[in-house]
Structure formats: C-alpha cells, structure tokens
Amino acid sequence: MSTPVFKNRLVRWIDYRLPVFTFMNHELNEYPTPRNLSYWWNFGSLAGIMLVTMIVTGVVLAMHYTPHVDYAFQSVERIMRDVNYGWLIRYLHMNGASMFFIVTYIHIFRGLYYGSYKSPRELLWMLGVIILILMMATAFMGYVLPWGQMSFWGATVITNLFSAIPFVGEKIVTWLWGGFSVDNPTLNRFYSLHYLLPFLIVGVVVLHLVALHRFGSNNPLGIDTKGPQDTLPFHPYYTAKDMFGLGVFLIIYALIVFFAPNLFGEPDNYIPANPLATPPHIVPEWYFLPFYAILRAVPNKLGGVVLMFSSILVLFVLPWLDRSPVRSGRFRPMFRIFFWLLVLDAVVLGVVGANPPEGNWILFGRMATIWYFVHFLIVLPLLSRLERPRPLPISISQSVLASGGGFAPQPVRTMDKA
C-alpha cells in the first residue's frame, strides 16, 4: 500500500502538504476488504447515510421550528402546510428516524450472528453500543419537539424513570425538567441537546470507523483474511455493492415517505400537548418497544428501570460473555438456534411493548425479558464451553472460489474489463 502518484499537479501539491487524498485513497479506494461480504454488510454504510440524512433534514427543520410550548406544535404544522416542501423534509426526518433504527438494528444483529464483536473488534463493538445509546437519546428528545400528546407524555414518562434512583431521584428529575413538570424549560433544553447529540454521534462514528479500518471488516466466514487473495479493493467492488443496496433502501424509504408517512407514528401526537390529560394508551416509538416491555415486566419501579438499562449495557460486556473462538454463526450449530431465538425474543418483546400491560401480555413480557438476559448471561457463556463448532475453511479464497486451493491466483474473471 504505497503512496499513490496523483496525476493532477494541484492534487499532488496539496497531498504533499496535507495528505487527505492519500488518506481517502487508502481508506475508500484500495482499502482491502474481504471478498466474501454479503448484503448483510451493507447496513453500516446505510446507517452512516441515514445519519447524514437526519442531520441535513434536521438542520433545515431547525430553520422553521420554534422551541416554545405555545408555538412548537403550530410551528410544526406550519412546516407541514406553509413552508415550501416542508412536508417532504419533515416526513424524511420523521421516517428517517425509523429507517435509521431499522438499518442499525439489522447492523447489530448481523454483528451478533457473525461474531463481529469478538477479538480484535471489542472496542469497535463497544463504540457501536455507545452510538446506539446516543441515537436513542437523540430520537427520544426529537420526538418531544412537536409537542403533541405523545411528545409530552413520552417525555414525562421517560424523565420519570430517573425518579427511581434512590434518595436523589426526585431532585434529578426536577433538574432534568428545569421545573416541577415537563414544560417550556424542558422543551428548550431538549431542542438544544437534540441538535447537539447527532454531532457527538458523528464523532463516535469516526472512532467506530478508525477501529473498523484497523483490522478491516469481519466476514460471513468469520475467519481472518490471510493475504491479497482473500480481499478486494473497496472501490469499485464494495462502493458498487453499497450503492446498489442504497438504491433498494431508498426505494423503500421513499415508498414510506410518499405513501405511508405516518405508518410508524401515533395519531395522538397530532393532538397538541395537554398537561392535564394523559392519553388512554401511551406507547413509545416502535424502536423503543422491546425496552419498554422490559421496563414494564418488573413489578418494581427501580427494578424495571435497572433492568431496562441493563438490557443495553449487557451488550458492552458481550465480547467477554461469548468466549467461543469461532466468530461466525455459520459454523456454530447450537449458537445459530439460540441466535434466532434471540431474534424471536426481541420481536416478542416489541409486540408486548406495544400492547397494554394486562392479562397474558404481562406473562409473555416477563418470560421474554427473562429469556433476553438468560441468552446473554447463561446461554452464551455455556455455549462457549459446550458447543462443538464445525470445521472452519482454511481461507476465504479457498471457500469462495470454485477453483479451490488455499492460494488460488487472482481469478481471471475479474470485472475490470468487460
């Protein structure tokens, strides 16, 4: 990977003093990437694109939004009706949050299945969990800004989680609110932080990418690349693959924005906030539902809050809970079953979270909550000892090339000249 020679003299002049072109060439062009990445590896770049989309649409919305309890709801309606293309930009932002979480959750489950959190990618994984937490905080505060009924009561419920902290809980909640209830000071600080946090996410994403490029992407086989025969240059192979995936993704995103823009939303949030009446059934946005179900599964205020936060924090120690040296679920017959059970468990928790906490839903919620923690704290450590993985291929190239042979030459049918 030597320093490339650029044809353009200006580029050469700049690059000699500020090697940005060398950097871009190294990280985006020649960057050696495992040749066997599947479409499950598209979701990281999709998440990055959604982050940019959210920042761009958000900055534009901020030009028209008024963070005041008397004007917030009306200013959002003004964006929808009077601002040129305001409806489009707001629907892109609103549904963009859902799309961002969809691609991020798929990205996370891909990492879980293929063991992308294992050595030497533990910090890469932990930075990802930090991004998830920042995303959740940002999404929550953004949902408060339209100042509808769900905004208001969502803010009330979530900030009240902190009142579960012994001794100082009430004081902390008052501090969060800047008053004795969710009110104008709360709205103002949420707006400020909602604008700030995405840029923190950008910062952590940069670290996430630095950590990624240290050892490169994991791959469906979960084995290390052993040389040039196992990799392809990032451009054009994965830029093209990412672009194709982006095209498919944008079609789905556009379908929702144009034809079902309120699919993910709650109708109650089109009712202006009323601090004197809680809606009969309040639910968070869909991407919080599993965590909401865990919160409600525990018949104890502090216990529910602790368990809900633990359900995310457990991901931080995942690299040390799953000690199996084999990364990819493809070669772990038992792990694979439990992986899909975990997916099912997350879906069940989501459904439970969407339903009122009565009757059998309480039972289902408790069972699914218990299983969530059993999976991470008991099943994964036990599997590491008990499971007998299937034999791993010798190398990526041997596995993916029909010609076989551990050190197959560069295949003749590359597509650089069709």
Binding site: M63, H64, D82, V83, N84, Y85, I89
Partner: protein, 197 residues
Amino acid sequence: MVHGAEAIRNAGAHRPGEEGSRRDFLILATTAVGAIGVASLAWPFIDEMNPSADVLALSTTEVDLSPVAVGQAITVKWRGKPVFIRHRTPDEIKAARSVNVADLRDPQPDEARVQRPEWLIVVGVCTHLGCIPLGQKPSDPHGDYGGWFCPCHGSHYDTSARIRKGPAPRNLVVPDYVFLSDTMVRIGEAAAKGAAA
C-alpha cells in the same frame, strides 16, 4: 456510444478493439440517474428557504387614508418594511414638479412617481444601505429639499422622495399599489393599466 440494446447484447462477448461498451453504458446511465436524483432532491432543500405560503399571504397591506390630513405623513409596514404615505400640500407638489428632471441623479418626473398628486407612497428604505430616512414627523430633519434626510450617511430626498444630495444612488422606491376607493389603498398589488388617476 452504442445503443442500450446492443450494449446488452454485447454483454458477454468481449470484442477486441471495441472499448467496453456495456460498462460505459452502465456507468453513464447510473451517473445520469444519480445526478438527476440528487438535483431533484436538492431543490426542496433550496426552495424551503424561499418565502413560505404564510409569508406570501401577507404580501399586501391595505391602508385607510381618511384620517391623514393634508401635510401629514404616516408610516405603515408592508412586507416587514416601512412605507411612507404623505398627504402632500399644494406647495410640496409644486416644489416637486418645478424641478428640472434632467438635473437629477435618478431622473424621474414627479408625475411618474404618483398615481394621485396629493398622495406620495414610497418604500421608506434609503437606497444607499437600507436605513430609514427621517422626515415623517414635523419635528424631524427634512434635508435640504424639504423631503427626507437619512441620518446614517446623509442622503437628502425631496418632496417626491427623489435623491438630491448624498451617497444614495436612486430615488426611494415606489411600490406597486392600487386605490380601492378614494380613501383606501392596497400596497403590494399592481394597479391595472390605465387605471391610474
């Protein structure tokens, strides 16, 4: 450039001497679609900063002139800017019309600046750098020509609000307006051709 169908037919067969037609076609088509997509998506993000529907809805202002006595001036707000409405005295009209138009910096006869001689309606924003000239109140300085005086950089306007002295390049702007009746004027809407009194 080879046609699409032929390009596709050539897909598998690599003909020596013929520069990759299928690749060129795909790259050009993809780039074109991408460029059109980006451009059409960029427009909403530009247009969003243009005046919105509620701003445009407030782009005319109606003013009742009946309380404005001869010699009096009022200031009304139109599109966020002050508009000077002056009920001119016969002396002021005479002063404005006895000027040699050719000598003016921005030559314009008074007749071209009013629809009715007694009512002078101009945007009260100095054409130099946007300050509001003084001269609406009797106690204000009126400049050397009995009209307005801009305190920022010393531009003098006459009784037809034409620039006479100082740095401003042009006369105060006459907005579109239409008399709905003898005492009611709508600023921001052009008068129909030939309807001017």
